[in-house]
């Protein structure tokens, strides 16, 4: 298994798609539908990387990120959003300590490539650059 990934997205079809796409890349995938559920899952199980939707019902993706960073500075967290390339959201995510940023408007192949690239950089210690 390449990475153990936690996918957080409130939309089932998106969650299922990311699950299928990442499994094809030899990743172990766990999915959560909300920020609260993700924080619970992170308490229970270790993960190599988190793929976190920004717009979530209840606590938002950015709040989940902030929460994670309070106890874990190292865990790679990639933000993913349907708002596309949005300067404000990117800056806010960086400020809260995200490891990377993916727009859902990217071509699917590019999403996977970007995910793998960020994951590799994180593993080799270049995260957040």
């Amino acid at each position: 298994m390449l990475y153990k990934v936690l996918v957080v997205d409130d939309e089932t079809p998106v969650r299922d798609l990311l699950n299928d796409l990442l499994k094809r890349e030899d990743c172990g995938v766990t999915t959560c539908a909300s920020g609260e559920a993700a924080l619970e899952e992170l308490k229970k199980n270790p993960f190599d990387i988190v793929l976190l939707d920004i717009k979530l019902p209840g606590i938002s993706g950015l709040e989940v990120l902030k929460n994670i960073r309070e106890t874990n500075k190292e865990l790679p967290v990639i933000m993913i959003t349907g708002f596309g390339y949005n300067e404000d959201l990117i800056n806010k995510s960086k400020e809260f300590g995200c490891s990377g940023y993916i727009g859902k408007n990217m071509p699917v192949a590019q999403i996977i490539t970007t995910f793998k690239k960020i994951a590799q950089e994180v593993k080799s210690g270049k995260a957040g650059s």
């Binding site: 939309e11 079809p13 998106v14 798609l17 990311l18 299928d20 796409l21 094809r24 717009k55 959003t81 349907g82 708002f83 596309g84 390339y85 949005n86 300067e87 404000d88 727009g103 859902k104 408007n105 071509p107 699917v108 192949a109 999403i111």
Partner: protein
């Protein structure tokens, strides 16, 4: 006082002294023989000065007012020479050396043999009357100057029937009518008609109800479209405080309306931006699923027909994705890099790209008229190029037969660079002009209707202005103003 004549020919002196005018009798040598008390009072002379005295000494205090003396002498000589009385108004110096305006009558006194034996001068002191008249003249001229200076206001007066009796210079400037065009014509040539304009009778009704009229209205200029104004009409009272007409004051609010429209447009754009961002987000999620599933399916073993269909689904979904990207671009402010931008070079760069947009079988001449040495503006080069490209593409696409596009750069007023893109294309109907910068509004059959709304937002972000004039069948002129650094 000097007694006149012998005892038997005695003139009732007290009458002459109290007649309220200056009376002076000069002999043939033009020496003073007689003058009354009024003359003594005004000139401050004493009897001994006057007897046999020189009128210059009495009326001009010796050598004072030489030119005035010459004039006095000339009229006097003419009166004697032609043996004819003369009226004239002249200035003398009084006892304190102040000027007095005297309305004179010089009458020759002719003897039986036809010889002029003297002259009778009657002088009426009109100093106060003239000063009062001058002061009225001065007030009048001040008022005229005020009216003349109020160029943003049209001020005109009518009589009770509504015929124009006064039309200020400001009215001429604002409305293009000349005084001679409108004086004594009915005011409804400025107010008449329907719709936005209220005629004289409606104005009178309002004044009848509330004493005055004040409303936003529109005035009809000599040429061109109606001018929006705030119009105030009050009753006009003449110098005898008699209601003799109406006074109209109109303030041009074109610029205010324009700013209100811009503010309204900005608010609408901001709201639409927010809505578009939300909508784009909602579309991106299912699109990702569709495209992702297509990608996964494509890796499977599929028949030719299935693969073709899958390709079709993918390509159509990608088309939606591109549209959504444009919507997102409209709604978001991508990071702008502001730097000095040479407008001429920026336009020069995009022209080759725009040329591809001309419609099939058309010949379009592009005329560049760039002002040399234009100072740089502060802007994001790529965004400004996008604006110019969009405008040029629109211009090319509006020309279905042969035509011309002129792109001009100028040093405009108030520290702005002005860029105009003028085409001889199809033009835009007036009813569409107000919506032309709205997103998703398009007059083209194959347009997304986002280009001009993006231009609008970019220009606004650069603290600039974008405007459009267009006539169907004649073409359009887009004007962009961008502040210099």
């Amino acid at each position: 006082m000097i007694p006149a004549g012998k005892e038997e020919n005695k003139v009732p002196l007290d009458i002459l002294d109290n007649c309220g005018v200056m009376l002076i009798y000069l002999n043939a040598e033009q020496d003073i023989v007689f003058c009354n008390k009024k003359t003594e009072r005004i000139t401050g002379s004493k009897s001994e000065d006057i007897a046999g005295g020189d009128w210059r000494k009495i009326l001009f205090r010796g050598n004072g007012g030489l030119i005035k003396q010459e004039m006095f002498k000339a009229v006097l000589d003419e009166c004697v020479r032609h043996k004819r009385e003369k009226d004239f108004e002249g200035i003398i110096l009084d006892g304190s050396g102040k000027e007095r305006i005297i309305s004179w009558n010089f009458s020759p006194v002719v003897s039986e043999d036809g010889r002029v034996k003297g002259s009778l001068l009657t002088g009426h002191d009109v100093t106060r009357i003239r000063e009062a008249a001058n002061s009225v003249k001065s007030i009048d001229s001040t008022l005229k100057n005020i009216f003349f200076s109020l160029k943003d206001y049209a001020l005109y007066v009518t009589n009770l029937e509504g015929n124009i009796t006064y039309f200020s210079t400001g009215s001429e400037v604002m409305l293009g009518w000349k005084k001679k065009d409108v004086i004594f014509r009915h005011v409804d040539i400025l107010h008449g008609g329907s719709g936005q304009m209220e005629g004289f009778s409606s104005i009178l009704e309002e004044i009848g109800l509330s004493g005055r009229y004040e409303k936003e209205a529109a005035l009809s200029p000599k040429t061109g479209k109606l001018i929006p104004v705030v119009l105030t009409v009050n009753k006009f009272f003449d110098s005898e405080k008699k209601h003799s007409g109406y006074i109209f004051v109109a303030k041009d609010i074109t610029e205010r309306r324009h700013l209100e429209y811009q503010a309204f447009q900005s608010e609408k754009m901001a709201a639409l931006g927010l809505l578009s961002a939300g909508m784009a987000h909602e579309i991106n999620n299912p699109l990702l699923v569709i495209l992702g599933r297509c990608e996964l399916l494509a890796k499977e073993r599929l028949g030719r027909k299935e693969r073709e269909n899958l390709g079709l689904i993918s390509s159509q979904a990608e088309r939606i994705q591109k549209l959504v990207d444009r919507i997102l671009k409209f709604s978001q402010k991508s990071k702008q890099v502001f730097e000095p931008v040479n407008i001429n070079e920026a336009i020069e760069f995009i022209i080759p790209f725009a040329r591809y947009s001309n419609l099939p079988d058309t010949r379009v001449d592009l005329v560049k008229d760039f002002e040399e040495g234009l100072p740089p503006v502060r802007g994001d080069l790529h965004q400004l190029q996008e604006v110019f490209l969009n405008l040029l593409i629109n211009a090319y696409q509006s020309i279905s037969k042969n035509g011309k596009i002129e792109i001009t750069t100028r040093r405009g007023n108030g520290g702005f660079a002005t860029v105009t893109v003028k085409d001889t294309g199809s033009g835009i109907p007036p009813e569409h002009l107000k919506d032309i910068f709205m997103p998703f509004f398009s007059t083209k059959t194959e347009g997304k209707g986002l280009g001009l709304s993006i231009c609008y937002n970019i220009v606004k972000d650069h603290n600039g202005r974008i405007g459009l004039e267009s006539r169907p069948g004649e073409g359009s002129v887009f004007t962009i103003e961008l502040p210099f650094i």
